[in-house]
């Protein structure tokens, strides 16, 4: 039974590793579709949500926290 459990754990581990690695590599639309001549300050978050994944910004976040969150995301992406 032991190898079965180890196998499942290994599978999940590899899956998580893949998700982290791919997540880091994944480009956002505004990064892919801009050329070397462009510097964007804020690509805008309407329609795509704060984290640029389409999830709507939770209604209870006030304006200020949204902007702070957006700055963090932008810095994290180093855009």
């Amino acid at each position: 039974m032991k190898p079965f459990v180890v196998a499942v754990v290994a599978a999940v581990a590899i899956a998580l590793g893949a998700s982290v690695l791919l997540g880091a590599v994944q480009e956002l639309a505004y990064q892919k579709f801009q050329t070397s001549a462009v510097r964007l300050s804020s690509p805008g978050t309407n329609l795509v949500g704060l984290k640029w994944n389409g999830d709507p910004t939770p209604a209870d976040i006030t304006e200020m926290t949204r902007d702070k969150a957006e700055e963090e995301r932008l810095d994290a992406k180093g855009s």
Binding site: A37, V38, G44, N46, D60, E63
Partner: protein, 980 residues
């Protein structure tokens, strides 16, 4: 994006309404929601409105539902079509745009720039506060300090080097009032070196057309093109430069099944919809025009009666045209003879026919001659002064027409009075300032390098330095510059800096300036080319959407724009900035004597009233602020084709939309404006007109006045000179003047009362009486086929300076070297060198430049607009597949484009397309921010750099200036391309 359109407090009322709707099941698509169990919880959440925080203002909502939204009307600040912008403002924040259905010009539509114009006002890439360059670093500075330091430095420069050593570069994006104030400011400062973008736009048109039939402006209008049966678009690409004009062009083409002929080196987006396309070599407009006229004269298709009645010396043109049979035309320009014959026949027979042109015709060393040849085609076929005909000159910027009218031109004072003493005295009277005081402001010029000295009066009447050669005014050896000292300082309002040719020399000029002031909503190329370390100031100016004021569209209509939102960040409008500068320099009270100023902001209405008081020569006297505002309120009443409102309307009855100048007499006379110039089928009181008799009454025994041609209902049924008191006395019309009018004329005329003319009679009496008699105040003359005062009285083909055909340069050389606009124009020498050094061997490709629909002008403003920048992210060069494969260039790769002068080179992307012919390449001129391959983004002030940067085509464009207006030649030069 600064402004996020999300609902806020205002939404509270709407949410109850929406919730009610939900409950009542009124909203059917909600059935899906119920089935999916999605809660309506989102309803409860309503963020609050963040007022005050200027950077992050949030307010949203859509007009139909929330009551607090205020609708404001202004005019698009981009091109000269004059589209109305309907802005929705909520709590002082511009949250949305709606189509302006009522405007007869754009009928709800916009182009890419107009539909994205909200971003200009809300963009965080705007210049936010005044900046000063200290040791190569941008330091924030307050407005007071900036104005004080600039004022002191300007005064110091003036003491040391005189008034002419400061260059005043104005803008075609000014409102009429700002343009007028800027020219008045230049006069009070004491220099004629006051210019703006018209210099590189239609300066040659204004000179050429004015010297042909009186005024240098679009004779008809965009809407009038709907009447045309034939239209030639030569040297213009309205689909990219004036998109909304295409709505009228295509409608005309469809409704009248009209012939739409495009003659252009490129198969442009306009050519794609043409019925005929002719590809010609850049710089050969005159051979093609004479080619057309050759067929017309050969087959006798010309309008003989029209020529006899209203054209002087057409036979001189016949002699010149005879030298251009079809084979010579094809040898020089590449246009096939048979096709030109067919086009000539259409233009002469299928009338009314109109000729549309833009930069393609004007940006040449033969620009003025080109334009006159274009006018000859219209005159020979009688296609002027009737609906659907005329020279439809598509002006460039939003108010290049108004700024040109109001004097931002080194050769004249406002409204084309010129620089003669009579002009200065006229404006001295209007400004209520002593003529002698004005004269005292000008430099005395000592005798230098064999040139005669100039008194203050003579210098006051000498044209200044043009914007195309400001850097020559700084760099050339002092003895070559015909003024007291070379330029030492420059004040730039709303001017890109990358639209003038020979940028490497311009950088040299910028480096040598002692002071550079840039007043603009954006830092512009002047701030970015790393040319300067100190003494450079950036003043944030708001766009025309953030201030009141009128602007004149290309069809000469004036439209009033009301302030949409307060100026963003710390920007001020042009009036306030000029007032503060004038106050610092000490002539504010006299300059703003008749203009109400509230906390430093002069009232735009008062400025317009002053323009009305002085604008007799061009008919800018009837457009009072009240009448213009009434037009904006009643836009829907104006007819789509004639632009005229129904006669019986109480507010705007009988008026043409925007009171297109000339609008004679005082506002009370309610002259309707002149939609179509020189239209003898209408009474002058209804907007009719004749050719202007401004060149005298006869020459060498031949009359210059019209024969048997007069405007409808005119008391004089033959040609007549322009009206002065002398003519009035001869006709006995001086008795019709009211005593008050006579008193004013008496004061003006003094002992020489006979000399008081329709143009300087401030009472407007002469014009009033002329209208009563149904005559044109400026007389009824003939158009001049032979303009004897111009370098080439009859247009002659001359090869561009950098011509790809050295063999033709011998037969068609450029004009000999000459001194123009205070400095030498050595075009002839440069052309000779180009031939001797066989430049065409190393630079075989013809380079021409032009517009993109997404960007405008220098591009700083539109390249900072995120919605527009996304559509054109790379500066590119269009190459024909044959030329590209010969150089191993793949589509989309970077290439170097080398210019023949100053070893200049630019790094751009290659776009391989058959739009350009073999041997010709095209580059847009809206980019800047890269220089010879290097990204200059770091030199922009932090956070104020445009979204998209790129190389400027004018880094590699070359020497070459029109003799009459010093227009540059970016439309025809040479270059070489190699892979990067």
């Amino acid at each position: 994006m600064l402004i996020k359109r999300k609902n806020g407090q205002a939404g509270a009322t709407r949410l109850q309404a929406a919730a009610a709707g939900l409950a009542a099941g009124a909203v059917d698509r909600r059935s899906f929601l119920r089935r999916s169990g999605l809660t309506a919880g989102a309803l409860a959440a309503a963020g609050s409105i963040q007022l005050g925080a200027v950077r992050k203002a949030q307010a949203a909502g859509s007009s139909a539902v929330s009551p607090e939204v205020v609708v404001k009307k202004n005019i698009c600040t981009h091109c000269s079509v004059g589209c109305t912008v309907t802005a929705e403002v909520l709590n002082g924040v511009w949250v949305g745009q709606e189509p302006s259905w009522n405007s007869p010009i754009n009928r709800g539509t916009h182009c890419a720039k107009g539909a994205a114009i909200r971003e200009l006002v809300t963009s965080d890439r705007r210049l936010k506060y005044p900046l000063k360059l200290v040791g190569g670093e941008w330091k924030r500075i307050s407005w007071e300090d900036a104005i004080n330091e600039i004022g002191d430095k300007l005064t110091a420069v003036r003491e040391k080097n005189g008034a002419d050593s400061v260059y005043w570069l104005g803008s075609a994006k000014f409102t009429n009032e700002a343009a007028y104030l800027f020219r008045k400011f230049g006069a009070f400062w004491g220099t004629n070196s006051v210019d703006h973008q018209a210099r590189i736009c239609h300066s040659t048109t204004v000179a050429g057309v004015a010297n042909t039939w009186g005024y240098g402006a679009q004779t008809n209008s965009y809407n009038d093109i709907r009447n045309a049966k034939t239209m030639i678009i030569m040297g213009g690409n309205p689909a990219e430069a004036h998109p909304i004009s295409m709505q009228h062009i295509l409608a005309g083409k469809e409704l009248n099944r009209a012939n739409m002929i495009v003659i252009d080196p490129r198969f442009t987006r306009t050519a794609a919809h043409a019925t005929d396309y002719v590809r010609i070599r850049p710089g050969t407009d005159i051979p093609v025009m004479w080619g057309l006229l050759w067929h017309i004269f050969e087959n006798g298709w010309e309008d003989k009666e029209f020529i006899r009645q209203r054209v002087y010396a057409m036979e001189d043109v016949r002699k010149e045209v005879a030298k251009w049979p079809p084979d010579e035309v094809e040898r020089v320009s590449g246009a096939p003879g048979a096709q030109l014959r067919r086009i000539a026949e259409m233009f002469a027979k299928e009338k009314p026919a109109t000729l549309i042109w833009c930069m393609g015709a004007t940006q040449h060393t033969v620009g003025t001659a080109n334009v006159r040849a274009f006018c000859m085609l219209c005159l020979a076929t009688g296609n002027v002064g009737k609906p659907g005909t005329g020279a439809n000159i598509f002006r460039g910027h939003t108010n290049v027409q108004g700024a040109t009218d109001l004097g931002l031109d080194v050769t004249t004072l406002p409204l084309y009075y010129g620089l003669v003493e009579g002009a200065w005295r006229h404006w001295a009277r209007v400004w209520e300032v002593e003529y002698e005081w004005l004269q005292s402001r000008f430099d005395e010029v000592p005798a230098i390098a064999g040139r005669k000295a100039r008194t203050r009066k003579e210098n006051m009447e000498t044209p200044g330095i043009t914007s195309t050669r400001w850097f020559d005014g700084v760099d050339l050896p002092p003895d070559q510059i015909d003024q007291r000292s070379p330029l030492r300082a420059m004040v730039v309002f709303g001017h890109g800096g990358n639209t003038v040719t020979r940028i490497p020399e311009a950088i040299e000029g910028m480096r040598n300036l002692e002071l550079l002031v840039v007043a603009d909503p954006h830092p512009t190329t002047f701030a970015a080319l790393n040319a300067r370390q100190d003494n450079t100031y950036l003043l944030p100016i708001c766009t025309s959407l953030e201030m009141n004021g009128s602007r004149t569209a290309s069809n000469r209509s004036l439209q009033w724009g009301e302030q949409v939102v307060k100026p963003a960040f710390e920007s001020k409008n042009d009036y306030e900035t000029l007032y503060l500068l004038a106050k610092k320099l000490g002539f504010a009270e006299s300059m703003f004597k008749n203009i109400k100023v509230e906390n430093n902001v002069p009232s735009a209405e008062d400025v317009l009233r002053e323009i009305n008081r002085g604008g007799w020569s061009t008919g800018y006297c009837g457009q009072s602020p009240e009448r213009l505002k009434a037009h904006m309120k009643n836009q829907s009443k104006f007819d789509l084709v004639t632009l005229r409102a129904p006669k019986d309307d109480p507010e705007v009855g009988g008026d043409y939309y925007g009171l297109p100048w000339p609008c004679w007499g005082k506002p009370e006379i309610r002259h309707p404006g002149t939609a179509i110039l020189y239209n003898t089928n209408l009474n002058v009181r209804e907007g009719g007109g004749t050719f202007r008799a401004r060149f005298g009454t006869e020459r060498k025994g031949v009359t210059l006045l019209a024969e048997d041609s007069y405007s409808k209902g005119s008391d004089l049924t033959d040609g007549y000179p322009e009206f002065t008191m002398a003519v009035f006395k001869k006709l006995g019309w001086d008795k019709d003047l009211t005593p008050e009018e006579m008193a004013v004329i008496q004061k003006i005329g003094g002992d020489k009362i006979d000399a008081v003319s329709w143009a300087n009679d401030l009472s407007g009496g002469i014009q009033r009486v002329c209208l009563d008699h149904g005559v044109s105040p400026y007389g009824n003359g003939k158009a001049r086929a032979n303009a004897w005062n111009l370098p080439d009285p009859v247009p002659v083909h001359r090869e561009p300076i950098y011509s790809p055909r050295p063999d033709l340069v011998a037969k068609y050389p450029t004009r000999p070297d000459e001194r123009q606009f205070r400095m030498p124009n050595i075009g002839f020498t440069v052309q000779k060198e180009v031939v001797e050094r066989n430049v065409v061997r190393d630079f075989p490709l013809i380079l021409t430049s032009g517009r993109l629909v997404e960007y405008e002008g220098g591009g700083e403003e539109t390249r900072s607009n995120q919605w527009l920048a996304e559509l054109q992210q790379d500066m590119f060069v269009e190459i024909n597949p044959a030329d590209a494969s010969a150089r191993g260039i793949r589509d989309g790769q970077f290439v170097w484009v080398d210019g023949p002068e100053a070893k200049a080179k630019v790094k751009v992307k290659a776009m391989i397309t058959e739009r350009v012919g073999k041997g010709t390449v095209f580059m847009p001129f809206h980019f800047s921010g890269w220089y010879e391959g290097e990204d200059m983004r770091r030199f922009y002030p932090k956070g104020a750099d445009p979204v998209v940067l790129g190389e400027s085509v004018n880094t590699i464009t070359t020497y070459g200036y029109d003799p009459v207006t010093a227009m540059q030649e970016p439309k025809a030069t040479l270059c070489q391309i190699r892979t990067a």
